[in-house]
Amino acid sequence: MKSVPLRALGWPQIKPIPLAIAGVLAAILPMILNSSYWVGVCTLALIWMVLNQSWNLVLGYSGIWNFGQLAIYAIGGYAAALVSLHTGLPWPIALVVGGFAATLVSLVLAIPSVRLRGIYVSLLTFGFSEVVRLLVIADKTGITGGTFGLSGFDGYGLQSMEPQARYRLIYWIALAFVIITLVAMYFIVRSPLGTGLMALRDNPSLAAARGVSPIKYQLLSFGISGFFAGIAGGLYAFTYGVVSPSLMGLGQMTLLVTMMVVGGLGTLTGPLIGTAIITLVQAELQNWPEIRLILLGLVLLAIVVLMPRGVVPLLAGRMGRLNSWMSAGESKESKPTATSTKT
């Protein structure tokens, strides 16, 4: 009986068998795909999954319309790249430093954001990310490399490996971070913090009246989300050996927001599934770059208009209806046992 109140609260339930199948498939994917191009596409998708998962915590679970996440992601990437470039520290430390730099910036962005409501937050954060992008482009000091970006750092330090094994290893590193992020998000969402964030999203005044501090909780949400976004930025930097202002910008933002909206905001699997779908579509359209973004915009528009909650909640709803239809049939056929268990 325990599963009913859990579902009513909107907590994610672990479905072990599909998760295990997906995990095994993801792990052996680079063995199946025998082209380095597709392994590269999948690696990029995994990095985006980490980023979208982190973004989803603020955008989906906390309901704070933060559109500045790409700047935080890029700052994480730049920080990790700078550490890798100027010091001899190993890459995991550089990644974590990038994560903490992103956390810091995210908290700075959060301070004015949590004071504002609704549309003003999106204005502020959207402007923030554009200004970070313009500042990097205008940077003449050479720290960030301006328009052309920063390159020439070691990254994972795998240059001596033969290409195919290297691509696979990089893929598995990214996959490991996707799993870490997923597990972390699962525990955050299940924790009192997650419940508090959702309460603040659904009914701010009631939640605040019940003792959930909006400022404290939302700052935490920004901080955690910033950390994982920074990690994603570092992964990007080390995978491709370059960070540039093209990590940010309107086109990128459309792409990532579409992924989350397609998958379903405020769900754990939504960002993963949305990212997978959109990355696949984008990779298939590689040869027609002109219509790629047009199609992306149309998909975003259509999804918001036709199924605003995304694919995952829609399928989950259908699945739930199927389940209840099946169980209703069961209880109708075996009425005596159903009543006997009740009493």
Binding site: L116, L123, G127
Partner: protein
Amino acid sequence: MNAILQTLVSTIVQGSILALISIGMTLVYGTLRVLNMAQGVMVMVGGFAAYTVVDRTGVSPWISIAVAAAVTFLLGVLTYYMAVKPLLGRPGVDFEMTAFITTFAVATIVQNIILMIYGPRQKPFDPLWPGGINITSEVSITYHSMIMAVLAVGALVALGLFLSRSRYGLAITAVAQNLDAARLMGIPARRVYVVTMGIAAALAGIAGVLLAPLYFVYPNAGDLPLLQALIVVIFAGLGSVKGTIYASYIIGFLSSAVAIFWSSAFALPVLYIVILVVLVVRPNGIAGKPQEARL
């Protein structure tokens, strides 16, 4: 002295254009509660419409202003039907936010269609009136920037008269002030929405033609105006027409002062820091009402 004079001239020109672009955003937000992220694209489309007309038919650029206004008006109406109307009155969905995303999607679509048709290259556009005058030996004003200021102010005055005198304008004002009361008086709110989106887009389109000789015509031409307009509307508080006009000139002054006395690369970041401070001190802008009161 020269730098100060230059700043003043630049303030008037920039402020007027900014007012033209951001008044559309604030008007749409005031009536529909939609933050129209496609406004920047309208500026760009206005420039392209004028460029195409002048390039293909060779008419005077003055006529192209009217064409650009008409094209962007239609595009604004189309945006309403594509991105806003399907969301109206839908339960369980945060309307403001979904509309923010859909107008953003429209902006992406339009921008990339233009990119596909015209390519990324910058297109030159002749000034409406070439030449200029020198005020002092170092400070000069081109006739074009004078025309920009005059036309922008003229359009704003016309808009003010339209909103306060004409039948349709009064309907827009009424819907913006109190939707329920306006509907009870028999004003068809949804048609008012259509007209408002069209007018807002047309204003941006006119601004696009005026800006075209300065910044050229290219598919990303709308990004910077959108960003500046966003700063203006945050500063002013969404939905306040008067506040938007004041804010436009303040922001115009700040950005030209920073550009002239320091570096144009820092104009936007400095503005942004100002905005941060304003938002922390007055979370609803200089003239905005608290958001709860407006819902």
